[in-house]
């Protein structure tokens, strides 16, 4: 009973925060609503008994992704104003209809799901099984560590490679050649293509 009430409170707060993110005019407000949404997701993860992922959610999403987004907001201050020229709700109507259509489709799919072969329907899953055993849920972190290093080793290594590529790519994209910022865009195009093969970690401006 208490679990249901908690779930309803956290869900409504999370959905309100998500609505705030997509509707806020001020981008910093939108980022703060996003923080609230991520925190509500972390609470839902605790309700699902994966506290490790709740902690990772707070650390990675709130602690890194939102900070990056705020950097992006601060560094791309619009010179001529953005959302204030969007013209109210009329151009947003098709988007709203499409989102409502997707919502209706998903709700109908969840509600009328029937199960596949020997599996029962989702609506029958009224209570969670004690399935993995209580000791798995209490010892999630060592199990995750062991599984990552044994069963999911390839995915783990590929993810490390992906993160390296992302870091190098982000630096290569946003690298700024300071003394040659002034010239017209065609010259800047030239400079960017020359920069690409060079390692971006030298740090000495030209």
């Amino acid at each position: 009973m208490i679990a249901r009430i908690l779930f309803l409170i956290i869900s409504s707060l999370g959905l309100l925060a998500a609505l705030g993110t997509v509707l806020a005019r001020n981008l910093v407000h939108a980022a703060l609503f996003l923080v609230a949404f991520f925190f509500c997701m972390a609470c839902q993860f605790v309700l699902l008994e994966v506290e490790f992922l709740a902690a990772i959610q707070v650390l990675v999403y709130i602690g890194a992704v939102v900070i990056l987004i705020l950097f992006g907001v601060m560094l791309t201050r619009n010179i001529q104003g953005d959302e204030t020229t969007s013209g109210g709700w009329t151009p947003r109507l098709p988007g709203l209809l499409a989102a409502l259509a997707v919502l209706a489709l998903l709700f109908a799919g969840i509600r009328h799901e029937r199960g596949l072969g020997a599996r029962p329907a989702w609506t029958a899953a009224a209570a969670r099984p004690d399935a993995p055993g209580q000791d798995l849920l209490l010892n999630m972190t060592p199990v995750i560590g062991r599984e990552l290093m044994s069963r999911y080793l390839i995915a783990f290594e590929l993810t490390g490679l992906l993160l390296t590529i992302a870091v190098v790519g982000a630096i290569a994209l946003a690298y700024r050649d300071l003394p040659t910022e002034a010239p017209p865009p065609s010259a800047a195009d030239h400079d960017q293509t020359e920069d690409a093969p060079e390692p971006a970690v030298t740090g000495t401006p030209r």
Binding site: S11, F37, E83, A125
Partner: protein, 109 residues
């Protein structure tokens, strides 16, 4: 627990969050705001993964925490994607002097 949360409640919540994120992607004109809405959608998918993992018995050949590992990798890839996305937005802002997605049309015919 006397009365547990049904699985479908988690799925409804994830579906609603996904629809809100989709609405944000289509509505917003600022590129960074679009990235924020994409993150909402990714979190909704993660929610689905974990709900299905918790409410189903573990499959025979797989490990005991398949859903958790999947969600962990989704979080990692989403963080990498935001990093590269912000780099792209900064580059486009520098070229076109705006973070408005309607202005990013240099490749269109």
């Amino acid at each position: 627990m006397t009365q547990d949360i049904p699985l479908t409640w988690f799925l409804y919540f994830a579906a609603a969050a996904f629809a809100i994120g989709l609405f944000g992607v289509m509505i917003r004109r600022n590129a960074v705001a679009v990235l924020m809405a994409i993150e909402i959608m990714l979190n909704a998918a993660n929610m689905n993964l974990l709900a299905f993992w918790r409410y189903n018995p573990a499959p025979a050949g797989e490990g005991p925490i398949t859903g958790v590992i999947f969600a962990l990798f989704v979080i990692t890839v989403a963080a990498a994607e935001v990093a590269v996305g912000i780099g792209l937005v900064l580059l486009c802002y520098r070229r076109l002097q705006a973070a408005d997605v309607d202005r990013y049309d240099r490749l269109s015919g």
